[in-house]
Amino acid sequence: MATFLPQFPLFPEPVLLFGLLLLAGIAGGELVKRTLKLPRIVGYILTGLLLGASGLNLLDQPLVDESWIFLEIALGLVLFELGRRLHLDWLANDRWLLATSLLECTLSFVLIYVALTALDVAPIYATVAAAIGISTSPAVVLLVAQELKAEGQVTERALNLTALNSVAAFVLATMLLAWIHHDYQAGWTMVVLHPVYLLSGSVVLGYVASAGAIGFSRLLGKHAERQFVMLIGLVVLSIGAARMLELSVLLALLSFGVFCRNVDRRYDLMEVDLTSVGQMFYVVLFVVGGAKLQLTDLAAGGLIGMAYVTARFIGKAIGVITLTPLSGVRPGTAGLLCIALTPMSGLALAMVHQTTTLYPEFGAHLATIVISAVLILEIVGPIAVQFALKRAGEARTEEK
């Protein structure tokens, strides 16, 4: 047989996989959008479910592992974009927005903790799971908002609250590492220094990246295309650097975005839109996210999952509904806002993963608690966000 021909069996190339996932996701997204009028994200996730372990099992664990690089870039881009949506000036001008965030973070944390311990989950697991539950899925909120071309107070407030609760969740989950280390009898250096290194290192990396972006943009001038490429370059570079330095990719990229928005006082950075390139990574992110979900988990952890989701929603709802009206927004905004904060997704799983790489068995058990909630909210979340933004009249596709 000629040696230039491919040898059987054929091994799928990662790039081939990326292309296939993209096409399958887009097809699924379009189908769901047209037939059910639901957000495309739901279609991506359902495509993943169909291809994944719970469905045809075409996208099995080894293949999912192959796709890590795309997922990392996708999450990095999402967090960078989200960071750029966090306006610190706004928090100074509307203190009630900051207060709303603090209250909804605290209440969702406390209520999830209470609900889980009531169901006999050990305190350490309940605490870490509750910390993860503080965060709203940035990818879902951002993507549904972009898909609907939504803008307005509900959209902007939801994005800012999501950025804030993601920060709170990261910081808390990272600090809780100390407890986990302690529980596993790690040395005191590990207990203290690991969280400190993760937090400060990731934030410093984000700052350095933003300083690089601002300096670079001064050099490039106001050219959207060049600044676009420069930003993508820095996002990917920061993801790589964070991995290389054993830092948190999530926190580093979120800080990168926040610094870009709030440190660039001379406005050298242009507001370039990364959606076009982000979109293709996001499709893969959600298809793979769907493939990872096991419907059997829902049966196993169904009760915990329901309790988790309910407690989290009540916590966020009370926080948002009591304080948002004090920001002076229109009646109705608060209710829609707490619906828009519902989603949980791959980010939560990434946090589980990040928190627990050192202790796989801890991670495995934690995952069983969180994953059924994620399973429920992966599907419900995008629909909730779409409902909230449309009902608020902020979706551009609403146009007659």
Binding site: W90, N93, Q153, E156, K222, E271, R330
Partner: protein, 379 residues
């Protein structure tokens, strides 16, 4: 049978008031936002003088002053309203800007403010309704009676190029430099009921014209005429509508003071008789002012000479001397004249901002910083 709102309510002592249409910008890329309803809702809960109202698209808001007699009181009130609007905007993470046009928004993305009237306008005018997302200043001048209002309207028509050149602040549209100083008025011209008052000489003749137009079913009220200058009988005023919204409220008050002083000259001195040729030359003179601003030409219907608009403006300010003294507008008009001499206009400021920053997003941001000042910023 003439409708009651067409009865001319007399106004005294050259009272005047200002309406400003303003841009609502987002804080991300300084494109137009869509938050008019939230902004107005928040301002309804905040005590402030004047009024803040919706305009045709959700990216606009209109600010009205009360009725004034003196420039100083007008500018003081405008500053208080500005600060209230700026503070409310900051709480909603919005920016407010003056200027006759937004530099780079895309009209197709605009959404009509949901009221019956605005939705009717969208239905009737189609895309023009969305393109109408342009920002003007209206100045109301009080008149003692309808006949004076008709007379004032005719004579002010000769000075329309002045108003345009002084206020021009819409050099950019849809992301491009239009080469005009005021590109905004080109958008107004597209409307079928834009233009000027018919050449009538008394209020009763005007009512005859109005009733005829209404009997044809073309108009329902004075609001349906998008004229450059129109009588507003229910307020007892003549409303000048050709000004672009200036970049600051101080400039807006100065323009109103110029109009007030000119109106005093016209109503007290009765210097000219209405002249049909003013309207023959009207569109050409208006174009010159829009295109070239104070560097344009003006063909004077009364002397039949071609003048430099800048010279004519400076001569007029001199001519108005005694009247500005009586009204207390001397200092304001002197500053306006100095700006004209030095070529300082808002359109020039905007082009300079673009030259320095090479980004229209930055122009829009600087425009909003110019309008809002430090009002309501956290200390």
């Amino acid at each position: 049978m003439t409708a009651p709102e067409m009865q001319f309510t007399p106004s005294k002592d050259l009272s005047f008031g200002v309406e400003l249409e303003l841009q609502i910008l987002n804080s991300r890329d300084f494109d137009l936002a869509r938050d008019a309803a939230d902004l107005i809702g928040l301002l309804d809960k905040t005590p402030h003088p004047g009024a803040v109202k919706p305009e045709i698209t959700e990216s606009m808001v209109e600010l009205n002053t009360s009725i004034h007699r003196e420039h100083d009181a007008l500018v003081a009130e405008l500053k208080v309203i500005r600060d209230a609007v700026a503070q409310a905007a900051r709480r909603l993470n919005l920016h407010i800007a003056g200027g006759g046009s937004h530099a780079f928004h895309q009209w197709a993305q605009r959404r009509i403010y949901p009221t019956e009237r605005f939705e009717h306008l969208l239905e009737m005018y189609g895309y023009l309704a969305k393109q109408f997302t342009i920002f003007g200043q209206h100045v109301h001048i009080g008149c003692p009676d309808g006949d004076s209002a008709v007379y004032l309207t005719h004579i002010l028509s000769r000075y329309v190029p002045h108003f345009i050149a002084l206020s021009a602040s819409s050099p950019f549209q849809q992301g491009e430099d239009t080469s005009y100083q005021s590109s905004r008025l080109n958008t107004v011209t597209a409307f079928p009921l834009s233009g000027q008052i018919p050449f009538v000489h008394s209020w009763s003749d005007f009512l005859g014209y109005f009733d005829k137009m209404r009997s044809y079913g073309i108009v329902e009220s004075m609001k349906d005429f998008y004229w450059d200058i129109r009588p507003k009988p229910e307020y007892g005023t003549v409303e000048i509508r050709v000004f672009d919204t200036p970049l600051t409220v101080e400039r807006a008050a100065a323009l109103a003071a110029y109009a007030q002083t000119l109106a005093r000259h016209i109503l007290v001195d009765r210097p000219l008789a209405p002249e049909r040729d003013v309207y023959t030359l009207y569109n050409y003179n208006r174009f010159q002012a829009c295109r070239y601003g104070i560097d344009g030409k003006l063909v004077d219907a009364y002397t039949r000479r071609t003048l430099s608009l800048r010279e004519d403006l400076l001569d007029t300010v001199k001519l108005l001397g005694p009247h500005s003294a009586v009204l207390g507008n001397g200092a304001v008009l002197a500053r306006l004249a100095a700006d004209v001499e030095a070529g300082r206009t808002d359109a020039a400021w905007l082009r300079q901002a673009y030259k320095e920053r090479k980004s229209l997003n930055d122009v829009a941001r600087m425009q909003s910083e110019e309008w809002m000042g430090k009002a309501g910023a956290p200390s």
